[in-house]
């Protein structure tokens, strides 16, 4: 559904460098990274708000450079800042911008607004940030988009709506025809719904891979400081010694089938002899340990993904 090839974009003292990844139909991809890692810039470059210096972006095999109109017709865009007219009401905005979309359905928009409790008669600038976000989501859902690109959509949303939003996202991809690229710091949402995880750092992609593979690739070890420190350096991504409990993210020696030094390591024996506990890391824990460890021992690049 989305293919990004060798995308480069320089923004004075920041640059997106050689970004390549793809998101197949019917899947949700979480785009994660620390602040200023380039997530928002990447999204704005994908949707052509920023001019890219080089590279290609395809939406459902349609080139953004060659046929932006067709490509954008397929896109439902939700950004962390309001791009719509603040002096118009939500309904006026939807009517005005909706007419440019081939399949915009005003009734669908109003139905979503009622469901999200968005006051469609109020000027956008009078709505709270959460309400503005809900307006954007309602609008993105009302023109039969097949690829949704969302930048921090849940940042200003209440817990109840976040749960509803998660359900909506899952419903959207259920037919296997729609895809979602979701940039967020709310990694618990991604734990629930993401199929792929793309991690960015300093304008580069560290990795872009299937979430399950990613989760299998690493193990979170928990135990006392002495045992954690006994783990060999070559398998540890980052270790953190706490007052009561220490933890370390390690490369899973049982992952993959290559006979390198990591794969030869007897993790089961070590776990038992050192009295450690093996845990499956969450995305938040993965990101925390990887960032803290400066991506030491993190295999970069792309995991093989299903064909588009």
């Amino acid at each position: 559904m989305l293919r990004v090839e060798n995308l480069n974009k320089e923004i004075i003292n920041f640059a997106l460098k050689d970004i390549s990844f793809h998101l197949p139909k019917g899947y949700i991809m979480g785009l994660i990274g620390v602040n200023a890692s380039g997530k928002s810039s990447l999204i704005k470059t994908i949707i052509n708000v920023y001019h890219k210096d080089s590279g290609r972006v395809y939406i459902d095999r349609i080139s953004m450079d060659e046929d932006e109109r067709r490509a954008k017709n397929l896109m439902g865009i939700v950004l962390d800042e309001n791009f719509y007219e603040p002096f118009l009401s939500a309904e006026e905005n939807a009517k005005f911008f909706g007419k440019y979309f081939e399949h915009y359905d005003h009734d669908v928009f109003l139905r979503y607004c009622r469901r999200f409790h968005v006051d469609t008669k109020k000027k956008l600038k009078k709505l709270s940030k959460g309400q503005q976000m809900k307006f954007q989501i309602a609008f993105a859902l009302s023109h039969e988009a097949r690829f949704f690109i969302m930048d921090e959509p849940t940042g200003n949303l209440d817990q109840a709506f976040r749960l509803e939003f998660t359900e909506i996202m899952q419903d959207l991809v259920a037919d296997g025809e729609k895809s979602i690229l979701l940039a967020t710091h709310q990694t618990d949402t991604l734990d629930q719904i993401a199929d792929y995880i793309t991690l960015m750092d300093k304008g580069r992609i560290v990795f872009s891979m299937n979430k399950e593979i990613l989760m299998d690739k690493y193990i979170l070890m928990s135990g006392d400081a002495e045992s954690i420190n006994a783990l060999p350096e070559n398998i540890v991504v980052y270790r953190e010694n706490g007052l009561y409990r220490s933890m370390a993210l390690i490369n899973n020696p049982d992952f993959g089938d290559t006979d390198n030094a990591i794969n030869l390591y007897d993790i089961e024996g070590t776990t038992e002899s050192l009295g450690l506990t093996k845990l499956r890391p969450t995305i938040e824990e993965l990101m925390y340990f990887m960032v803290k460890g400066g991506f030491h021992g993190v295999e970069s690049g792309m995991e093989r993904q299903p064909a588009l």
């Binding site: 052509n48 109109r69 791009f83 118009l88 005005f96 440019y100």
Partner: protein, 254 residues
Amino acid sequence: MWKVVWKDSLRFEGNAIFTSPYVPILHYLYLYNIMYSRSVLQAIIWIFFYIVFFSLTFFPVRLAKGMYLCPLTTDDRKKYIMTACYLRFGMLTTLYGLVLVISGIFLEVNNINIFLKFISGSFMIFYLVIFSIGIFSDPMETAKRRYYTKHKLPYPSKAAAKNPAVNEQGKKTEIVSAVIMGTAILPGFIGVMLPINKTAFNPYYLFYYIPSFIVSFICSIIFYVKYMDGIINASANREIFEAKNVKAGVFHAD
């Protein structure tokens, strides 16, 4: 739709600071024109020029940000911008025409000249007041920072300044800016020192000639001496922004 188009044509971008180096040229040309010309036509042209200049300075035509999320081609966006331009031009022309018609009805032909000069003088003094406030309350560095923040652009660091492309662009614009400033300062000073043409003297002129001379003279001195570096930097930055398709992640028409 027209609501949005009209709003677009009045989108305040706070970039008045970038046109500042060119204002003294306009100002001095205006003074010369008013001092030595008694032509109604020239006064009309000048007033219209002022209106358009201020309008574009304070409210440049920009495309609504939401349009970048819509399925539009480059040509569509260009058409949209042009519509906003035509609307602005049409509105200004209509407004200006109304002023002329009303002044024509209520004033004698001879008085139209004075009336138009009065309007021009008001514009000029209005601008100089704004300009003076700007100088004392909003230092160039702050204005630049605000511009960068508003556009969510990373503020150029020393590392960015070392970028050869940025430096090269900066050097070119420094030369251009220096030439422009020289062109503005020299005739300006000479103009201020020249006596007012006795044949054109009218007691009414005291209301705008003398304050204009004094204010513009002081402003020019303060502005150019204290903020010369700022002008050069701002001008250089503007040039960099104009090459935004390559250098910066800002919005674009195409």
